[in-house]
Subunit: 262 residues, 2 copies
């Protein structure tokens, strides 16, 4: 898939050839900081041109400080430019301080075997047209990323209606609001673009410390079906597992993050 | 917990002050290469003295080449020595080539809140004395790690009896054979110390590309209850999720790896 239109994801995540970038305030979360997935995407875009394969395969990011809209710079290092898998590291810095430390392996997902054996089902969701977007139209003031990403739930999640369900589990549709098709470069952002599912346990803001994403296949255009779950909230921390399937029911990305309750 | 006796894990994973280490052949897997968890542990031990906190919290390793018994060297970099969380990177090299690229955050797990909310149960297993170790006593020639790690299954897994179950799921007990208590430094090895559970799908050797481990708590001494699962075998790759609980039923480590079928 070739992305042609000037979509905001590409405009806002692609650094200049020298690694400098103006981080945008269009991907903010509560508190006026940049969404972690957005920071990851910019860092990944800074690494990608240095590696000889197109698709992020395994991406691991450590979040060291909050990132904010404004100037930043990305440095990249090639670790191994292998024939099948190429691996590199990158840092996103603001004001001389590391914000994100990322390592990523890339491959060509067109060149992998097409056989599959799966032992889990994609989410079961009504047609997106029958679903609702409970965070549209400024429902979350200052959370500008809610205007960039469409979500569609069968029912509004409990936390947004003031009645957390007590179960940190959700499934919903997701897509870019401006029509940009999801691809393997944007999936590592999308796994971190929704509200933390621990919101279903009450007022539990949390901050990502570490996020690992495995991109498993190229998605077909259209809505993506997402499933997110937290199983263990211990020691002031929790994991969050996120899976993304395309509209054909194919797993395209799988992530786990470790986050700290604030 | 202070580890006092000269256990093999410590002897074989601890580099000299200059980062050099003689990798041991006591942790070999099939094919005569070092177990990935062993390589990870040595790399982590090379980073640990440089950071001001004792417990690995989030560890991410990329496997670039097979590691073999013999000389190696570990270089370490402090990325951020934060008050609560300290993060660094390390490389393990052999013959001038990168074998493992690791990033890790450390913390003091004694200093975290003790509250917990969990939404999954620990494995249900018979008492270890009623279980069997199907890989003891040289059942897997050349796989020396099988002599270092005791495993205990309610029934022998299908793959070892020549009848793969078709379901990539297993649960079993695990401990160091020489009596070393598991601690937060050894857990990141133990999550990769068992046979890949895709063996239950038939003759499917696989090689770890990327492994992320979250250490969630300090384990109590004794047997550890493990649960391992693969859900998606696609594109010649599969993830493997591994959970370790201590004997009190407390989650102590959670990992996911992405591996390539050979």
């Amino acid at each position: 898939m070739t992305i042609t239109a000037p979509y905001l994801f590409d405009t806002d995540t692609t650094p200049a050839a020298d690694g400098t970038i103006e981080l945008s305030d269009r991907w903010n979360i509560a508190g006026g900081t940049c969404n972690g997935g957005y920071l990851l995407a910019a860092t990944l875009q800074g690494l990608r041109p240095h590696l000889p394969a197109p698709d992020p395969l395994a991406v691991s990011a450590y979040y060291l400080r909050p990132g904010v809209a404004g100037p930043a710079e990305i440095s990249a290092e090639v670790i191994k430019a292998g024939r099948r898998v190429a691996t590199g590291a990158a840092r996103l810095r603001q004001g001389g301080n590391d914000v994100v430390a990322l390592t990523a392996s890339f491959t060509d997902l067109d060149a992998v075997p097409q056989d599959a054996a799966t032992f889990a089902d994609p989410p079961e969701l009504p047609d997106p047209a029958e679903c609702v977007n409970p965070i549209a139209g400024g429902a979350l003031p200052g959370v500008s990323i809610a205007e960039r990403i469409d979500v569609a739930y069968a029912q509004p999640p409990g936390w947004i209606t003031g009645r957390p369900s007590g179960t940190p589990y959700a499934q919903f549709w997701m897509r870019f609001a401006d029509g940009r098709p999801a691809d393997t470069v944007s999936l590592p952002m999308l796994v971190d673009a929704a509200a933390p599912v621990v919101f279903e346990l009450g007022d539990m803001p949390s901050s990502t410390m570490q996020l690992t994403v495995h991109v498993r296949a190229r998605p077909e255009p259209g809505w993506l079906a997402c499933r997110v779950r937290t199983r263990y909230v211990t020691g002031g921390m929790h994991e969050e597992d996120f899976e993304i399937f395309d509209g054909t029911g194919k797993l395209v990305a799988q992530s786990r993050q470790l986050a700290m309750l604030l």
